[in-house]
């Protein structure tokens, strides 16, 4: 029977909510920004101007203040164990806001998007909404909250993917994304329900202790892990849950592709780490080990499949966006290696790799957009001879690609170094995994180098008529990204330190 809560109880609930709000400021701020953007869009409707992107960038940058304030707060659960504030969450808040700012910048750069779409107003609001959703994904500790935040990210992503209504590829991508998303989320919710059935809990900490205390049927738990992994695997775009990604990445407006490949993937990794490390820990402190649920083996298989499949299939791609889509599948595999190491070094390596991936992948897409403004396509053939005509863009793209391969002196190299260090620090058990990792990165060199090959080694067959230079703003932005990619390849201490202090959940260092 449902009983009305007493006055005192209501009082305490309100008090808890009030305290919670103090821990929830960035999210509230961003929600206000989201609504503000819609209102401003209504006010300025019809007039072409740069007010909205400017407002979005400034607004997103403003949230740094609120996130920075959170360093002073003590890590803990809020809203009755729904939500959490800890170093791990703060790391991803910075991460998603930065990726949101970069997404807005590259959206401004994209002529095709701005020329063909009648209204860009909701676009920027949706990007902010997605930032909120991703932040909530990284901070949720309750199955319901996890599901809701993933849906928030998913729904905004579907709309953004289909934003170019005039382009059938865009609509096709959106539909595929939606269908795959619905199926994998459905599987995941089924997995959640199995876990709820076993433990009668939705908070992942409570699930963990419940499992340790009362036991479980290993078969059911294994099934549940597998189903949940389908949901997370879809978000991170790992094999075999990757089928949506090439079509979506090719069809979506390029800024959205870049944003999805970095932001949405990182959010998937955040939630995957939080769920598996905490709810069903595997062979390590501080949470009690849940024996017999070998999700680690599942991750190993997924990681190997992703690295091999992503890199090999990318070899045959003629479209740069599609090639980068397959490469992002491969990068999901490398990132998983860091999680498989299951220690603080591995977590640190994963977080660092994500930061590096943010720089180099957004950078690469940035240049792809600038180039497609000029040539009108993303085909490899049309990159011929561009290196001479666009020296900065060409050099920058080469740096980003070298970084994606993992060659020094770039941030991508340090990322791979840290990931492989984490594996080899475990002794000889994971050497084979590391071997597959380095060998597939040799394969990746071939297709990444096809782009500089066309840009520098080949002459363009038909000289381009359109002399669309790109603005100083974008030149500066690309140069900054390139310099950061190189700088953090030589002096990476700030990033690795940031990654290390962030690898704690609820004040406890993960593993």
């Amino acid at each position: 029977m449902f009983e009305l809560p007493s006055g005192a109880e209501i009082q305490s609930i309100i008090a808890a909510l009030k305290t919670g709000v103090g821990f929830f400021m960035p999210e509230i701020y961003l929600s206000v920004l989201f609504m503000l953007l819609i209102v401003v869009d209504l006010a300025v409707k019809g007039r072409k101007n740069n007010l909205l992107p400017l407002l979005t960038v400034l607004g997103l940058a403003g949230s740094f203040y609120f996130i920075y304030q959170q360093h002073l707060l003590e890590a803990g659960e809020i809203f009755f164990g729904m939500y959490v504030l800890d170093g791990f969450a703060i790391f991803f808040k910075y991460f998603f806001v930065i990726s949101g700012i970069l997404a807005v910048l590259i959206s401004v750069a994209d002529d095709q998007l701005n020329r063909h779409v009648r209204s860009m107003g909701e676009y920027y609001a949706l990007i902010v909404a997605m930032v909120i959703g991703m932040i909530m994904m990284a901070s949720s500790v309750d199955l319901l909250m996890m599901f809701l935040s993933m849906e928030l990210v998913g729904l905004t992503a579907y709309v953004l993917t289909g934003y170019r209504k005039d382009d059938p590829r865009s609509s096709e991508g959106a539909l595929k994304y939606l269908v795959y998303g619905a199926v994998s989320t459905g599987l995941m919710v089924y997995g959640f329900s199995l876990i709820y059935g076993i433990t009668a809990q939705t908070n992942i900490m409570k699930i963990s202790s419940e499992l340790a205390l009362h036991g479980y049927d290993p078969l059911v738990m294994m099934l549940a892990s597998l189903l949940i992994l389908a949901g997370f695997g879809y978000k991170i775009g790992a094999v075999p849950f990757h089928f949506w990604s090439p079509d979506v990445y090719e069809g979506a407006p390029t800024p959205v592709t870049a944003y999805l490949s970095v932001g949405s993937k990182a959010a998937g990794f955040a939630i995957l780490m939080r769920f598996f490390y905490v709810a069903i820990p595997h062979g390590g402190e501080p949470f009690q080990d849940i024996a017999g649920i070998d999700w680690l083996m599942l991750l190993i298989v997924i990681a190997i499949a992703s690295m091999v499949y992503g890199n090999v299939v990318a070899l045959w791609q003629k479209n740069v966006k599609r090639m980068l889509a397959y490469s992002s599948i491969a990068h999901a595999g490398y990132l998983l290696l860091g999680i498989i190491a299951m220690d603080s070094l591995g977590t640190q390596a994963t977080l660092f790799y994500l930061l590096g991936y943010l720089l180099m992948n957004i950078g690469a897409f940035y240049v792809v957009i600038i180039i497609s403004n000029r040539t009108g396509s993303e085909n490899l053939e049309d990159y011929r001879g561009l290196g001479k005509e666009m020296p900065l863009a060409g050099a920058a793209l080469t740096v980003f690609l070298i970084s994606l391969v993992g060659l020094p002196p770039t941030v991508g190299f340090i990322g791979k170094l840290m990931i492989f260090s984490a594996l080899l620090a475990k002794g000889s058990v994971y050497i084979w995994l590391a071997l597959i990792g380095v060998l597939t990165s040799v394969i990746s060199l071939y297709y990444y180098m096809l782009i500089p090959l066309n840009m520098y080694l080949r002459e363009s067959t038909q000289p381009c008529e359109v002399k669309a230079g790109f603005g100083i703003l974008h030149k500066v932005a690309i140069a900054v990204l390139m310099i950061l990619t190189l700088y953090f390849g030589l002096f990476f201490k700030p990033l690795t330190d940031f990654a290390r202090i962030s690898s704690s959940m609820l004040g406890v260092t993960i593993y």
Binding site: P409, A425, M449, F492
Partner: protein
């Protein structure tokens, strides 16, 4: 001092970046000045070098001072890894007898390379920026004493080299460039894993921390016994040795990993061929001497015979391939493979004579092959073909060229009195005196015979006799009654011009001088080689166990 010699070219590259691309002459001169300054520094280092200090490992007490020279050591990155301790990467440079030889060679070849790049007209600015980047990376590899730093320089070479072959190369350049890139990267990614493994296995005796220092890694007592590459982990030590060896062997290049080299050489422009054969190949054998062998001495001792056989295959197979070539440049490329085989054979002898011969051969091969490729470039510039059959009787029309070619060709085949002879003699003395390699050495001597065969045969076909009917040049009788030849669209001087002489004559002098009086180089490297042989010797290893 060492930092300066390493980073001078990159500074020149930054200056060039600011020069407008139409000012080709300024760009060339800036690069040349940087290379000359590098050369001056190399001479200063050579003058200041104390040949009695051994190098290879740390001096007694674990400090590199007193063993290495011109040391520059700064903490570069100190990462806190939480429970894993900290990751210490140092900016650690220094030279010993092995590296100083290579430093001098690199500085020399860099200058020659710039001079040889003078006629390049296509995208001059980009070319020299990449060239300077390459020069920095090469020099950096030879002086780095921190494995991480070495690896960064090692990988840094790939991209400039890719573009230098790929943009300024011959018709099939795309294939050659990516093949070079993929082969080398394939070798070096394994090096990355071994590097990480070594890091977790070695403790710096001075600080008690894990370290990337190659000096600390060269002493077996610094290894943690049960670490992944520690002495107890025999299987992984063998695996690490093998993959490192393959990584360096690709660079050498050793049969069966050599196929990228002829492609790269044939497509690369002359200066890049010079750099490639003169310096880059040495990085392979240098890496073996600095990293591969001293870090895993017991595996090295166990694989002497295999290395010797691989060296012999290189010598004989390379010579046979050279014999079959119609393209002069391809012939020289295969002769490189053959000559690098002597280095491998000398190393496999594992005694002072053999190793001195190997290192000296590396130096001599650098100077001689640089000459060979320059000379091939000279004739290619004029005739636009390198087919040996398309020439004949050149000696009477281009006497100076023919004279220099003769010196280089004879140096390459090991004529007494020229530098190549001494190093090959040392290699064979070493290989004969080691029981393991004696049989292999006997077979390898055949390589000298075949070497003489292809060199003399090509010399005969190109320079002696009469002009062939389908030759690449026309014969005409001048007003004075003498016969002249002229190449179809060659406007310059028929015989060697001043720039070509400036490149070739110093090299020829070095080749002759070091053939008569090798002590300036040998004196510098002997104590380090003796130390290396001691580190590698089975006696020391049994004493440790």
């Amino acid at each position: 001092m060492l930092s300066l010699i390493v980073f001078l070219p990159i500074l020149a590259g930054l200056v060039i970046l600011a020069v407008p691309s139409s000012q080709k002459q300024i760009i060339r001169i800036v690069s040349l000045l940087a290379a000359i300054a590098q050369g001056v520094l190399a001479v200063l280092i050579w003058k200041g070098y104390d040949a009695s200090l051994p190098g290879i490992t740390a001096a007694a007490g674990g400090a590199p001072e007193g063993s290495f020279q011109f040391i520059e050591r700064l903490p570069w990155i100190n990462l806190d890894l939480g429970s894993m301790g900290s990751l210490n990467i140092e900016y650690f440079l220094g030279v010993d007898g092995i590296s100083i030889t290579m430093v001098i060679l690199t500085a020399l070849i860099s200058i020659i390379g710039i001079l040889s790049s003078w006629p390049i007209q296509k995208q001059v600015k980009g070319y020299f920026i990449l060239y300077n980047l390459l020069a920095t990376a090469m020099m950096g590899c030879f002086v780095a004493l921190d494995f991480f730093l070495f690896y960064v320089f090692w990988e840094l070479m790939l991209l400039p080299m890719y573009f230098l072959i790929g943009i300024w190369g011959g018709p099939n350049r795309e294939y050659a460039a990516i093949k070079f890139f993929l082969y080398t990267l394939f070798g070096s990614v394994f090096m990355l894993l071994v590097m990480i493994g070594l890091y977790f296995s070695v403790i710096d005796p001075l600080t008690g921390n894990h370290t990337f220092s190659l000096v600390a890694m060269a002493s077996q007592e610094n290894y943690i016994k049960d670490a992944i590459l520690g002495p107890d982990n025999v299987m992984w030590r063998y695996a690490a040795f093998i993959v490192l060896f393959i990584g360096f062997a690709i660079k050498v290049p050793m049969f069966p990993f050599h196929t990228w080299l002829p492609d790269a050489h044939v497509e690369a422009p002359t200066p890049i061929s010079v750099i490639l054969a003169g310096v880059l190949l040495k990085l392979g054998t240098y890496g073996m001497m600095r990293i591969n062998f001293p870090l895993f001495p017991e595996v090295f001792q166990a694989s002497l015979y295999v290395i010797a056989v691989l060296g012999a295959i290189n010598i004989i197979y390379g010579a046979f391939c050279a014999l079959a070539q119609q393209d002069l440049k391809k012939m020289v490329a295969y002769s490189s493979i053959s000559h690098m085989g002597y280095v491998l054979l000398g190393l496999a002898a594992a005694n002072s004579e053999g190793m001195v011969g190997a290192l000296y051969q590396m130096f001599n091969h650098g100077t001689i092959t640089a000459m060979l490729f320059l000379l091939v470039g000279v004739i290619y510039d004029r005739a636009h073909t390198r087919q040996i059959d398309k020439f004949g009787g050149l000696a009477s029309y281009m006497p100076v060229y023919a004279a220099v070619v003769t010196i280089a060709w004879f140096a390459s085949l090991g004529l007494p009195g020229l530098s190549g002879f001494i190093s090959e003699a040392f290699v064979f003395v070493g290989a004969f005196s080691s029981v393991t390699t004696r049989n292999v050495a006997i077979v390898s001597v055949l390589g000298i015979v075949f070497g003489a065969a292809y060199l003399l045969w090509s010399l005969q076909r190109m320079f002696l006799g009469k002009r062939k009917a389908d030759a690449a040049y026309d014969l005409e009788v001048g007003a004075d009654g003498h016969e002249h030849i002229h190449f179809h669209d060659w406007k310059g001087k028929l015989d060697l011009d001043a720039r070509e002489l400036v490149m070739l004559v110093p090299l020829a002098i070095i080749v002759i001088f070091l053939g008569i009086y090798p002590m300036p180089v040998l004196g510098m490297l002997t104590s380090s080689i003796n130390k290396l042989v001691e580190v590698l010797s089975p006696v020391v290893m049994t004493a440790l166990n």
